[in-house]
């Protein structure tokens, strides 16, 4: 059960959380979602085949309830909560707790909304118009490439080293050739917020531009499916561009200024983590129930010190991680888009949530014992979901290295200069 008695949450936030809870309790059939997740995905599946796996009836109901559009600006008919990171956070947490993978269906689109502040009005109208009017329009984002993963997220910044020269300007058009690697929802999205190197020789932090990509234009295709655990609903793909052309007006922000746009979406990235903390709370409750009901040696195993300690330890870690997330979301809200009160917060969370999830999995293996790998337990699906977040947003270790570098350079235990995010 999600505890809504937190000082970060206003009456309005709690009402939104209760709406999400009601929606999930009424509409979400976890068994059905898990059945979709268990279907084999061929590595050469097309975009149409991936879209056919989507639970469109559920997406459509979420649209009718206004939940899908809640982060979109009010001028486009959305809920206008795009900058309310605490509000979106608690909704993501509730969606994760009650709806499992449903949480990600929401957060993938919600986190893109912040980028529209950098988008030209006619493009925002086109994309959001489609999104608001068509229940099957999906949004996604793409950063990594076959030969550039963590160095894109953690720029080493040596000139010309990271990233392929993907987009070249020809007249008023940008022409794309090459591949993008791990793109969650890429195969099912109509529009992608995509970062591409547009200056071949410069350091990556000053050589990348963000674009809105319409996947229905010629020259875009799914190269292969990355069949990832816990990501089976929206799926993850490698994409191929071959002479893909879009007009310059589809550019978001200045040429070679993508990292400024990306900063605005970092708070959005933590929305995935809110959903995962919801999943983690549900996992922990299942584990606790098992420890209370499983009798060994004449008493429930929760009374065995080795098990009771694990139940308490993981409860403590989840609670702490949750407060950390809310504190960070609240801080994002205080200053405004793309700014941070505590630059280190993002990196610490990215590391810490992975520690918490790994410890939760470890505890589950101990508590369930021989039952742990049994597919009949919900634990097996929870583990998949947890693993799906553990790969995202660079590895936990790199996050700490980056945080330590920033701390050493600034000399402050809580550096607040947002530009430090992408300096090396």
């Amino acid at each position: 059960m999600i505890d809504l008695n937190l000082p970060y949450l206003t009456e309005e936030h709690k009402s939104l959380a209760m709406l999400m809870k009601e929606f999930c309790e009424r509409e979400v059939d976890l068994k059905k979602l898990n059945e979709i997740a268990d279907q084999v995905i061929p590595p050469n599946a097309t975009s149409a085949e991936l879209r056919a796996r989507m639970p469109w009836d559920l997406v459509s109901k979420a649209h009718d309830a206004g939940l899908r559009q809640i982060a979109a600006p009010t001028e486009f008919g959305g809920g206008g909560y795009g900058e309310d990171h605490v509000g979106l956070g608690v909704m993501a947490e509730v969606a994760g707790y009650y709806g499992g993978q449903l949480g990600r269906l929401f957060t993938i689109a919600w986190k893109q909304m912040a980028a529209f502040a950098y988008t030209k009005k006619d493009i925002a109208e086109e994309v959001l118009g489609d999104y608001m009017n068509d229940r099957k329009t999906m949004l996604g984002a793409s950063i990594t490439e076959p030969n550039s993963g963590s160095d894109y997220l953690f720029p080493y910044d040596e000139p010309g080293v990271t990233g392929q020269y993907l987009a070249k300007k020809e007249g008023d058009e940008w022409v794309f050739n090459g591949d993008k690697m791990f793109c969650t929802a890429g195969g099912v999205s109509n529009y992608l917020m995509l970062m591409a190197r547009t200056e071949p020789k410069g350091p990556i932090s000053k050589s990348v531009t963000q674009f809105v990509i319409d996947t229905r234009r010629p020259g875009w295709s799914v190269a292969r499916v990355n069949d990832m655990m816990g990501n089976e609903l929206v799926t993850n793909v490698q994409m191929h561009f071959e002479n893909y052309r879009i007009p310059d007006r589809y550019r978001e922000g200045p040429v070679n200024g993508a990292f400024d746009v990306m900063k605005s979406r970092l708070a959005g990235k933590s929305l995935h983590m809110f959903a995962v903390i919801g999943w983690a709370e549900r996992t922990w409750e299942d584990m606790k129930e098992y420890a209370l009901s499983r009798i060994q040696g004449g008493k429930p195993i929760v009374q065995h010190p080795n098990v009771g300690m694990l139940v308490a330890e993981t409860d403590c870690m989840i609670r702490h991680c949750r407060l950390f997330l809310y504190q960070d979301a609240w801080e994002w809200q205080q200053i405004g888009q793309g700014q941070m009160r505590d630059v280190l917060g993002w990196y610490y969370i990215n590391w810490y949530i992975k520690r918490v999830l790994m410890r939760l999995i470890e505890a589950g293996l101990e508590i369930y014992g021989g039952m742990a790998p049994q597919k009949e337990l919900a634990f097996e699906h929870w583990v998949r979901l947890h693993l799906s977040i553990m790969h995202g947003g660079s590895t936990g270790g790199l996050s700490l290295v980056k945080a330590a570098n920033i701390m050493a350079r600034s000399g402050s235990p809580r550096p607040s200069d947002s530009n430090a995010l992408y300096e090396t």
């Binding site: 059960m1 809504l4 008695n5 009456e11 309790e25 206004g66 809920g79």
Partner: protein
């Protein structure tokens, strides 16, 4: 058309049983701090019934609730669904009431509201399950009461109501004003709208103390009760197991039949 809907704040019926502790001395249930409160689901259907009438012919829907320290997230939900006004009977004096004192306070408030064509309540509260309050309000106000409605069609000064009976439903006509209790067969209540959540965020409900509705504190809540709880306890289920044996399966079966006859089960 003016409609008043009475709602009750209760603990989430979906909460696990471990979330509650029974306090036998105080004859009450104590919840853990994490347990959410919600609008009684039957009352939500009463709100839905009112909003369907509003959608069809236009109406002002006023929501009335009673208690102390009522959770604004809960009691504002009907506003999020589309109701127009919220009046709270909110005071320490209202705490601990029974169906009698609750109905008395609510009916006094409805009299104060004045113009009212239709009072809607849920068929019962999902915590106490008494199902008395709606009937009590009708009695205090001297109005007709139709219970267990699954459909309400209003036509100027009368309403045609389909009410649930054991093997189906019957249709009755009632002259307005009247009190109607709504059953779950009405169908699912609508979701709160996000627009209304944002709109009602700053809205302050009207608060009435006992003196505002012409009642003394002794007539409200626990002081005004007519029903006294004698005891509150968890039932104890005990079972003993006896293995009936025999040299053969046939003999064991015969012995079992004899034992069942001895216990007067057969």
């Amino acid at each position: 058309m003016n409609i008043v809907v009475c709602i009750k704040e209760i603990y989430d019926p979906e909460a696990t049983i471990e979330s509650f502790r029974l306090d036998g001395a105080a004859k009450t249930l104590v919840s853990s701090a994490k347990v959410l409160k919600v609008v009684n689901p039957f009352d939500e259907q009463a709100v839905e019934a009112a909003l369907r009438i509003k959608d069809k012919m236009g109406a002002k829907v006023t929501v009335l609730s009673l208690g102390n320290n009522l959770d604004r997230v809960v009691v504002k939900k009907p506003l999020h669904m589309g109701a127009d006004e919220l009046i709270l009977l909110e005071d320490e004096a209202y705490v601990g009431g029974d169906s009698w004192s609750t109905a008395k306070a609510l009916s006094s408030a409805i009299q104060k509201i004045g113009e009212c064509d239709l009072v809607l309540c849920g068929r019962q509260a999902a915590d106490s399950n008494a199902g008395q309050t709606g009937l009590g309000i009708a009695e205090f106000l001297g109005l007709s009461c139709v219970t267990l409605a699954r459909k309400i069609d209003v036509d100027v000064d009368r309403a045609l109501i389909e009410r649930v009976i054991t093997d189906g439903y019957e249709t009755v006509e009632v002259t307005l004003p009247a009190v109607v209790t709504v059953s779950n067969e009405l169908g699912q209540a609508r979701y709160p709208s996000i627009k209304n959540i944002a709109k009602s965020n700053a809205m302050k409900p009207v608060i009435w103390k006992p003196s505002d509705i012409g009642l003394g504190p002794e007539e409200c809540g626990a002081s005004g009760r007519r029903l006294q709880a004698i005891d509150l306890f968890l039932p104890v289920f005990e079972a003993t197991c006896e293995i009936v044996k025999g040299e053969t399966l046939q003999e064991a079966a015969q012995n079992l039949a004899v034992r069942l006859r001895e216990e007067r089960i057969l």
